[in-house]
Symmetry: C2
Subunit: 502 residues, 2 copies
């Protein structure tokens, strides 16, 4: 940006802030120190609140203990697939950690979750050459017949391309969705490609396919497949579905380019046990003025089973725990309560998010704001918000304080798969966009382990979340709710990022 | 190098070349075109030979078919562990490919090879926390007892550190060799670290250890372990040995740092079948003048079983096949025969190299020179030679022609694990040093697949090998043999690079 133009957005912010400040009865306060270059000249938040927010930012930016919490969850518990022993163990870990770190009202709120399990998974090209294929069952997939499923492969680079081939070409075959995900600093590459995983198996089954293989939705070239959930539907046959590691998908592609029929056999012994008991684990930093009003910070405690869930979503758990803990250590807590919720079952069901809605429906009107952290440790690059229009000065003021973290750009968005379940009640949603250039190298693979955690990125996210949470817990009034016509989430898949982050 | 000094090495080269040229009865020839900045002014090779060598270089540098041969071996055969079905299939592939590409005297020379197989392999931390460990049996390892081997872990960052702990600390334990390999453009990081794999299990067994786990000898952070061979010895108990993926080794390291005893269980069902029949596959570009004199180009046809052996050593096979094929397409073949040998069993035995020595002992005095390609597709950075002193002008002249490829630096070295078996007969050894900064991210892992092949690097290596082979097949006289006191290879492990490349 040219320096001669820098006053324009600042002026717009100032004017908007003035309108709101007058409406809220607040007096304009002097400009806070260190709030970043685009700080407004009139303020929605008090100088004291802004000063403390800046101090929180500086403290967290200089180094936090968030990596300790991620390491605990990753090393001492490990993978946490819903309904697995790791899921159960992580409930105890989360309760103990929140209690030890001074949270109050720490409890596990029961959630019944699906209990899908993986089992054995093998694959091979059987013709025209023998070649081992490394693959992973997609979440919720049924098993193959015993001895495996063998059929000729039909390749399509999208659902639409498969449907254009028609049922005659697909019936009895293994559909190979070979859709490439683009590497990008935002998650749009994922959003573009992931439909072959979430919806592909159902659409292929509708054309009579026997099974589905997809090119993993990821950006790496490791022989580590990316799992993720399939949205099977009740009235369409569930066919076995697996993700090929990207090098294996490319081998299959090269063999298909030779023009001879290619046959593949794959064997999955995955399946579904009866729903199991899990929990949303909650802890609070009690508000000093209006403790019944809540700022909700969410992350998900469950993970896929292949890795140890360090980036997805151990990182988010570490970020929200640490952000709240730092606020809890302040000499005076902010007026509202900061509630951390470590959700059950984000990856294959959102049962935790749905259970939270049910259990807390009566107090949703007291939820002042919500944010979810679920994008690993990559640097925050923007601050997203969705609320009533009069909340804009608040969002701008927070984004100004986030500027030195690199997250000062204000964008529409916020929320997430878990906290998004209370959007219907109008709760204002916030969030950080993170640079996801490398996130999808590891996402949903065995490579999601603690060595992938970037401590500096983790600290930047802690700083940003702490600033947001402290400001939201300190704003003079409740922020204006999301207008009723904007409370519906667009159709979104479990395990995919919020549309705002696409 | 400053330009004002550039004449000094050229002068030295010129003087040395003059001495040799006079001795060899050759007349000084005019400077060849395009031979690179450090071309000598007096020449050992004729202007015609140098011109053709430069043309070969230019042609290959602009693009070759080497990737086709690598793709064939990788996609249509796949992994080729000695004695496995892939090993057998690759013999037929190699014979057919060499015949189809116009080689003469194509044949498979029988070699009996060890037939080690992998089986199932699992690992887990059992205390103080449960944690899955991804590991791979090391080549030649015996199986664990049924149900696995469980014991407390003793960590050591070197063989010497383990020995300093003494037998009391090691007896009955699982020794965890946690020795880090440094990323480097040369292979010295590998040479430094690999002793814990090749010799560690024997030394640990001598102290009474029950088993060995090593941090994979590699430079990546993927959950894909690096296998490789163990040199078990006859009079020491063979104990089970496996490599942990690097993230898993780091998890184990972090758990050990907590100070509590750490127990691990691992299960291997690997084993050894009776020796199996394999083959060195040979094809020739027959010499036009002295066809009984041979320039030997070697690579190994076998691979480890985890990947498809694209970089190790499909790349080398592709490079030597293509270099010889390009020479075969010349209007006139060089005087000597260029023999390509795709060796059996480099990785776990060198049975192919030993069999070549036995089968060809009578004609080793007619072997003019040998080169092996076994470092993937990374760019060549130097040209190595080991021969009698009077061969130096030849080496310098070749290196001058390699200058535009980035491989103009002349270094001591050459040879390789397979062709090195005939060094004892004094056969001059040559080789390319390649930049191996990324090679050990993939080496001996499931990630060694065709997508890791860099076509431009492949072509640069083809160009360099073709130049060398053509010049060696065209030099006026046989090059001076390696002096008898320099023919012994230093003790070297199967599957490790030649000492020259360390």
């Amino acid at each position: 940006m040219k320096s001669s133009n820098r006053w324009i957005p600042a002026l717009i912010v100032s004017m908007a802030a003035l309108v709101v400040a007058v409406r809220a009865g607040a007096r304009p306060a002097p400009t806070g120190m260190n709030e970043g270059a685009n700080a407004p000249e009139r303020h929605f938040l008090s100088a004291d609140v802004r000063r403390v927010a800046v101090e929180l930012r500086e403290k967290a930016f200089a180094g936090t203990r968030a990596a300790d919490w991620v390491r605990g969850l990753s090393d001492e518990v490990g993978s946490r697939l819903s309904g697995s022993p790791g899921d159960t163990a992580s409930i105890a870990w989360a309760l103990a950690t929140l209690k030890a770190q001074g949270f109050t009202n720490v409890r596990a709120e029961k959630v019944m979750v699906p209990a899908w399990y993986r089992g054995v998974e093998t694959g091979e090209v059987t013709a025209p050459y023998k070649q081992r294929l490394i693959l992973a069952a997609l979440g919720s997939s049924p098993p193959t017949p015993e001895g495996g499923l063998e059929a000729e492969v039909v390749e399509a680079d999208s659902i639409e391309a498969m449907e254009a081939k028609g049922a005659d070409a697909v019936k009895g075959k293994i559909v190979f969705f070979n859709k490439r995900m683009e590497r990008a600093s935002e998650t749009r590459g994922y959003g573009y490609a992931v439909d072959v995983r979430t919806r592909g198996p159902v659409r292929a089954a509708q054309l009579g396919a026997a099974g589905v293989l997809i090119r993993s939705i990821g950006t790496d070239h490791n022989r580590l497949p990316h799992t993720g959930n399939v949205d099977y539907v009740a009235d369409v046959p569930k066919i076995p579905a697996a993700a090929l590691a990207i090098p294996d998908a490319e081998t299959l592609e090269r063999l298909l380019r030779q023009g001879k029929p290619v046959r593949v056999r794959f064997t999955l012994t995955c399946g579904q046990r009866p729903d199991a008991e899990s929990a949303n684990v909650i802890g609070e930093i009690r508000g000093s003025g209006k403790p019944e009003e809540i700022v909700l910070l969410g992350a998900h405690r469950d993970s896929w089973d292949l890795g140890t869930g360090a980036i997805d979503d151990g990182a988010g758990c570490g970020i929200v725990i640490e952000a709240a803990r730092l606020i809890g250590q302040l000499p005076k807590h902010p007026p509202r309560t900061i509630r951390v919720c470590l959700y059950a079952n984000e990856e294959n069901g959102i049962a935790g998010g749905k259970a939270y809605f049910k259990a807390h429906e009566a107090e949703l009107s007291k939820h002042a704001a919500a944010l979810e952290s679920d994008s690993g440790t990559d640097y925050p690059t923007a601050f997203g918000w969705t609320a009533g229009p009069s909340a804009e000065p608040f969002a701008k003021e927070v984004s100004a304080i986030l500027q030195p973290l690199g997250a000062g750009t204000l964008i529409p968005g916020g929320g997430g798969a878990d906290v998004g379940t209370i959007k219907i009640a109008g709760v204002p949603m916030f969030g950080l966009r993170q640079d996801s250039s490398r996130y999808f190298d590891y996402h949903h693979t065995a490579n999601d382990t603690f060595d992938k955690i970037d401590p500096e990125g983790l600290d930047r996210n802690v700083a940003a979340v702490a600033v947001f949470a402290y400001c939201a817990a300190s704003s003079p009034e409740m922020l204006e709710r999301i207008p009723p016509d904007k409370r519906e989430e667009p159709r979104r898949r479990p395990g995919t990022p919020a549309p705002s982050a696409r």
